[in-house]
């Protein structure tokens, strides 16, 4: 049994706590240590994903003599230890997180080079990544709460890292407050389930669950608190404040952490409860949250004057797309015929959109960071004429903006098309809203492109030149991936997205992989 | 429009009683033109400079006047600036023209601005400033209105005295590029005064105006100019 699952967490935690030590020795050594640790984590993640895709779900019991032995012989059929259950869906999320970690860490090596306090910065960054990897691969509810907390606290500290006159501190505080409240309500729900089924393991609870009133309360609490953590509309107010005040490489990672909580909603909806709950209602709840997020997110983004705030509102509206995609999947879970006809495709669209979103949204925030790194201001009214001096950044911006707006050759289009067509059969009204939101997204990014890159060379940005190489590599990787995913969507869907969607749907397979004790 | 319509004489009496000797030589002119002989009434008054603004505000109480233009002419040793208002323009043929003439001696050409009580007067005040050299006190926007930017300072086109347009500034378009080998025009012979070079004297000016009418006939029909 390979130890990649354990390595996936061990390396970031080791790197995080060793960071201050290497920092003492020297700045360059600490940077190289960060890069080495990051590369190690990414390779562990890729190997793990490769293994899952080839051999199917991996179950890793921490601390057991034989790591594959999920249920100890004397525990009477109840998995005691903390289990990592990594099926195709978790592997998909690990891959997304790994790519973003690679780009963001490389980016922040040079974007944070002149700043102070880099030891703490990288330590928190690795803690954040450890939290994300843990959230997406754990099979244990309480363990999920623990990783949620690690994730939130590291994210909040990083969001408030560059004080920026108290604005960042306010953003960080809001993020921390929101996450802890969401986490606590999630913990209450976990407590309810533990009280009723006296186990914390998702698979075990799934196998013995019979939907009582208490489980109903648990489902509602879990879904709403995770929806808040991922920033769906009625509870999205923290997103613009936190994302716009956090340093850009951190915002790229905060997006990944909000998607991890999105993954958690679907893990709970599909694997934990599945058909035992009233899927149509919960499905429609998720869809409504999705529609609200889509429309209000982008309509708030249009009049914005600050580029990062505008992009933060866009991340709210893009989360809406995923919610709608997978919400339709949940809603038709009961009806096999409808599921086969468009349910699976809607889910595939939603999942494919997760990785596309991570790619181009991360790239957009890194570009915003590059512009702020060079020009010092994020206000659209002061910027202008950067196209003359920052050619590469402009090129990446064009790719990312076209991708987010869903323009054909790029990856955004492929996933949005899947969502449009399948959701159209389910309910045409939602598909129409999705398309209108796409147009408004394009409109607002045309505005950003016009005011940031076009126009004459302004005198105050005369000395601005291209961003240093590591930042360009970070952005370049994401841009290349966007183009590749755009050109070969079928390749990506068949190898990554389809198994993930089927793994989510296959609730009994999930239970069997753990309970069966293979 | 229910204000009381004053007869011209009552209007003048109002001003004379209000300003006494500041208002001098009031005059009423009533003309009737056209087939219908509709009357139109002009009321002229000469006003001193410092009684101007109070007079205008009084006129505003009678009926809000329409300032058509501030015109003026160079009467030799003084400039007579005329504020031309029209009131009662509501009724048909009921309009009065009220004209305040302000004589200004050439040595202190200063006028108070009336843009504070009548903002619309700015353009015509700016034009008076550049055409007559009258300085308007605290005019909000003292830029030139019609003259080009590179127009020489101290030259005021509408003045008849030495600060008027010197002859060298006048560019006679009809003189330029006239073919010199053209036979004498078949017009009745007038003594052909010698072609003077640029520095003619003033007396030449009137005589020149007479001569200039001849060039029109020289180009009777559309003549196709060969391109060099």
């Amino acid at each position: 049994m390979s130890q990649y699952a354990a390595l996936l967490l061990a390396i970031p935690l080791l790197a995080a706590f060793a960071m201050p030590l290497t920092g003492l020795i020297g700045k360059r050594i600490r940077n190289s240590w960060a890069i080495i640790a990051m590369l190690a984590t990414v390779t562990a993640a890729l190997l793990l994903v490769w293994e899952v895709l080839t051999q199917g779900t991996i179950v890793y019991a921490f601390g057991a003599f034989d790591s594959a032995q999920a249920i100890p012989f004397d525990s009477g059929g109840v998995p005691i230890r903390i289990l990592f259950v990594i099926d195709a869906m978790s592997a998909f999320m690990i891959l997304t997180a790994a790519i973003m970690m690679f780009a963001a860490t490389l980016y922040s090596i040079s974007s944070e080079s002149e700043q102070t306090g880099q030891d703490g910065y990288y330590a928190l960054l690795f803690l954040l990544m450890a939290g994300i990897f843990g959230m997406v691969s754990t099979g244990d509810l309480f363990n999920f709460f623990v990783f949620l907390e690690i994730n939130s606290l590291a994210g909040a500290a990083l969001a408030a890292y560059r004080i920026k006159g108290g604005v960042a501190v306010e953003g960080g505080l809001k993020y921390a407050f929101i996450s802890t409240v969401a986490g606590l309500f999630f913990l209450i729900a976990v407590g309810m389930l533990y009280g009723q089924y006296n186990s914390l393991n998702i698979a075990y609870i799934a196998s013995v669950i019979d939907f009582t009133g208490l489980s109903l309360v648990a489902v509602v609490l879990m879904i709403v608190s995770l929806a808040m953590k991922s920033g769906s509309v009625p509870m999205h107010f923290w997103t613009p404040d936190t994302y716009s005040s956090a340093p850009s490489s951190i915002t790229a990672l905060l997006i990944v952490s909000s998607m991890a909580s999105l993954y958690a909603i679907f893990r709970i909806a599909f694997s934990l409860f599945g058909l035992t709950m009233n899927v149509v209602t919960i499905g429609w709840v998720i869809i409504i949250l999705g529609i609200l997020s889509m429309f209000i997110g982008v309509s708030m983004a249009l009049p914005q004057k600050d580029v990062k705030r505008l992009m933060a509102y866009h991340s709210v509206s893009q989360i809406g797309y995923m919610l709608v995609g997978l919400g339709v999947g949940v809603a038709v879970l009961g009806d096999a015929q409808m599921l086969a006809q468009f349910g699976v495709v809607a889910m595939e669209g939603g999942i494919f959109h997760i990785i596309n979103y991570a790619l181009y949204k991360g790239l957009l925030f890194l570009i915003a960071g590059a512009v702020i790194y060079r020009c010092g201001t994020a206000n659209l009214n002061d910027l202008g004429g950067l196209g003359h001096s920052m050619k590469w950044t402009m090129g990446f911006f064009i790719i990312a903006a076209l991708a987010i707006a869903g323009i054909p050759p790029f990856n955004g289009f492929a996933s949005k098309l899947m969502i449009y067509e399948s959701v159209f059969i389910f309910n045409p009204f939602i598909a129409v809203i999705a398309m209108v939101v796409s147009i408004m997204t394009l409109a607002s990014f045309v505005k950003v492109f016009h005011s940031m890159f076009m126009g004459p060379k302004l005198p105050q940005y005369e000395t601005v030149k291209e961003v240093p190489m590591p930042m360009l590599i970070g952005m370049g990787l994401l841009a290349v991936l966007i183009i590749l995913f755009g050109l070969f969507p079928d390749l990506v869907v068949n190898t990554l997205v389809e198994p993930a969607a089927l793994a989510l749907l296959d609730r009994s397979g999930y239970i069997a992989s753990v309970m069966g004790g293979i | 429009m229910n204000e009381t319509i004053l007869t011209p004489q009552e209007l003048i009496d109002r001003f004379t009683t209000a300003f006494g000797d500041a208002v001098s030589e009031p005059r009423i002119q009533i003309r009737a033109e056209g087939v219908k002989k509709n009357q139109n009434i002009n009321i002229w008054m000469t006003i001193t400079r410092d009684a101007l603004k109070p007079a205008i505000s009084m006129l505003k109480e009678i009926s809000y006047p329409h300032l058509s233009v501030i015109s003026g002419w160079d009467a030799g040793e003084e400039l007579r600036m005329q504020y031309i208002f029209s009131i009662y323009f509501g009724e048909r043929h009921g309009e009065y023209m009220v004209i305040f003439t302000v004589p200004l001696t050439k040595d202190d050409l200063v006028l108070p601005t009336i843009t504070d009580i009548m903002p619309g007067a700015l353009f015509t005040e700016r034009e008076k400033q550049e055409m007559f050299g009258v300085t308007i006190q605290d005019i909000p926007d003292g830029r030139r209105l019609f003259l080009p930017e590179d127009f020489p300072e101290g030259v005021y086109p509408l003045r008849k005295d030495e600060t008027g347009i010197p002859d060298k500034m006048v560019k006679h378009l009809w003189e330029l590029g006239r073919p010199t080998d053209r036979p004498v025009p078949p017009v009745t012979e007038k003594e052909e005064e010698p072609k003077t070079e640029a520095g003619e004297k003033k007396v030449k000016k009137e005589e020149k105006t007479g001569k200039n009418t001849t060039p029109e006939e020289k180009k009777p029909e559309a003549e196709v100019k060969k391109d060099e």
Binding site: - | P148, M169, H172, L173, N212, E216, K219, A222
Partner: protein, 144 residues
């Protein structure tokens, strides 16, 4: 020599008022009314010099209008023809002793056809345009 096909039924005209008293302008407008109807030959007034082949200049060029007239002339695509309408453009006409003139039109831009008259009649203007047409043919024919 025939005009290139693109001129066959479209000789587009751009009118430039360089300080005229609007007498000639009203005559030009009178020329394009249905009574004289140059539209049937494709002669049409256009809003921008960039679409025009013929430039109608009225009025003596005042000092402020001279640079603008030069710029509009240069902005017209070649081959182009300039018609100076009215006596003012040729000899200053009624503004003969004005201090603010910048010379007859042909000192500022090369003029091809002169239509004299203090407000020339529409027939004279049309005759001018026809003369301009023959001039265009010669230009198209390669003689400068």
């Amino acid at each position: 020599m025939k005009l290139s096909p693109s001129f066959k039924r479209s000789l587009w005209v751009f009118h430039f008022n360089a300080g005229s008293c609007n007498g000639c302008d009203i005559e030009i407008v009178a020329t394009i009314t249905p009574r004289y109807d140059p539209e049937r030959f494709g002669v049409r007034l256009v809003g921008s010099p960039k679409h025009a082949d013929v430039l109608l200049v009225t009025g003596p060029v005042t000092k402020k209008m001279a640079p603008r007239l030069r710029r509009v002339y240069e902005q017209m695509p070649s081959p182009k023809v300039v018609i100076c309408i009215g006596t003012c453009g040729q000899s200053g006409g009624v503004f003969y002793d004005s201090y603010n003139l910048d010379g007859p039109v042909d000192e500022i831009i090369p003029v091809d056809v002169y239509v004299p008259g203090c407000a020339p009649r529409p027939e004279a203007i049309i005759h001018g345009v026809v003369t301009a047409l023959t001039k265009l043919e010669r230009i198209e024919g390669g003689e400068k």
